[in-house]
């Protein structure tokens, strides 16, 4: 169970979260929605332990395996897609990486290029593959479908839906359609 109790967070003068409480059960799928600046990314960062809350409590199972798609792609750009995925995996499995990348529309040729040379949508798909290949217990995704073209989007959403099976998923999105397609419960903040 992931639990936020009466959490507040400010950045300088700006109060982003004020007394937020939220429980996400194990295996639950939630989509956080709200206007820009509502604190959706802040919630994800608090769960990931990137920074602590000013007050309140964030608790999640100790040593939980996390796979994340950050707001930015955070890929090691001199390295290719395969290496970026390998980095987070317990055991190297090139075939598995190439298969998933292929499912996400990244063919072998693209997978061999340094990720710095890929387009925005391609980078995003590599970041999604990396999060899934971590085989996490908790999948955190901050606007994962941003910049992905309409033709590829359904298969990417399909893969995320498959990957979320049996895992806890916390998704930030502006699209209720995307959230519903993955079977997320929508929480407005």
């Amino acid at each position: 169970m992931i639990s936020l109790k009466n959490v507040s967070k400010s950045f300088g003068e700006q109060r982003v979260l004020s007394g937020l409480s939220l429980d996400i059960p194990d295996g639950g799928r939630v989509a956080l929605m709200g206007r820009s600046g509502a604190g959706k990314t802040t919630v994800l960062n608090l769960i990931m332990g990137i920074f602590p809350p000013d007050s309140g409590e964030v608790s999640l199972p100790k040593g939980i395996k996390i796979g994340a798609v950050f707001q930015e792609d955070r890929l090691v750009e001199p390295l290719n897609a395969v290496a970026n995925c390998e980095m987070v995996m317990k055991e190297r499995d090139r075939k598995k990486i190439l298969n998933l990348l292929n499912e996400l529309g990244i063919g072998e040729e693209l997978a061999k290029k340094p990720t710095g040379e890929l387009s925005g949508g391609e980078k995003r798909r590599v970041a999604i593959a990396r999060a899934i290949l971590r085989e996490p217990e908790l999948l955190i995704m901050d606007e994962p479908f941003k910049g992905i073209d309409e033709q590829t989007l359904p298969r990417v959403i399909g893969q995320v839906g498959l990957a979320a099976a049996g895992r806890t998923l916390v998704l930030v999105t502006h699209s209720a359609e995307e959230a519903e397609a993955i079977g997320c419960e929508i929480i407005k903040i």
Partner: protein, 258 residues
């Protein structure tokens, strides 16, 4: 023929023409001077170089100086990287090293050479001087590389639970390598120049610097230019080989997972 190949061939031809031009200028100056004591012609220098290469002294002198100068370079490379890593982690080490690197950079190399002769004698002088000149260059370049490494990536690795070794290999190494390469490129030229300058002042027996000094002492301009050519050649060959090795490492890293 591809356009890029034609362009490369043209570039090579222009480079050769530029070298020929300056050799002709050298020949012209030598003729104008009219004295081999002041400046000999390129042909005389080349002839002297060919004679030198066949002497047993030549190999010994080149080996003597190369071992020390490159010893200084590799020690500085190793310690520069190690201290840059430590400085990026511990502010106190960075603060402690700041004045040292600034002083080394600002002090004339001759002052260090004279001090080092007083402290250690002249035999391993070039090792110490080449270390001293290379260390700040490598240290500062690598430190900049580490400090410029994207914090977001380090944060990503922490969230994903990536181990220290993997973080080093996959995140720090690819981002620091270009800084290390640029530092090495500068440092390699510097270590030979400063190392040989130290030998000319300290005159350790059997060194290339000693040969240069003696050539100057006896006005053997042919020897002087021949030994200078030797230093340039050895330095360029080593620089090319070392940079090629670094480029191969970079290619290997960029191709991880292929």
């Amino acid at each position: 023929m591809k356009a890029s190949t034609t362009f490369r061939n043209k570039k090579i031809i222009y480079k050769i023409l530029a070298i020929v031009f300056w050799l002709l200028v050298w020949e012209g100056v030598a003729r104008a001077a009219g004295s081999e004591l002041i400046i000999c012609s390129p042909l005389v220098a080349l002839k002297r170089l060919c004679e030198l290469v066949t002497t047993p002294e030549f190999g010994r002198a080149v080996l003597f100086s190369s071992v020390r100068i490159l010893g200084g370079f590799f020690s500085a490379l190793f310690l520069g990287i190690a201290f840059a890593a430590l400085s990026s982690r511990f502010a106190v080490i960075k603060t402690l090293l700041e004045p040292i690197t600034s002083v080394i950079k600002a002090t004339p190399v001759a002052s260090f050479i004279i001090l080092a002769i007083i402290w250690f004698g002249s035999r391993n002088l070039s090792l110490f001087i080449s270390f001293l000149m290379v260390f700040p260059v490598i240290y500062l370049n690598v430190l900049e590389g580490i400090e410029r490494t994207d914090r977001g990536l380090v944060e990503m690795a922490r969230v994903f639970g990536v181990g220290r070794l993997k973080t080093l290999a996959y995140i720090y190494f690819p981002q620091v390598l270009p800084f290390l390469m640029s530092g090495c490129s500068v440092a390699l030229g510097l270590c030979w120049k400063s190392g040989v300058a130290a030998e000319v002042i300290g005159i350790p027996t059997g060194s290339v610097g000693e040969k240069l000094y003696k050539a100057k002492l006896y006005f053997e301009t042919g020897d002087l230019l021949a030994w200078t050519a030797v230093i340039i050649l050895v330095s360029v060959i080593f620089e090319r080989l070392f940079m090629l090795l670094l480029k191969l490492i970079r290619k290997k890293i960029e191709g991880v997972g292929r």
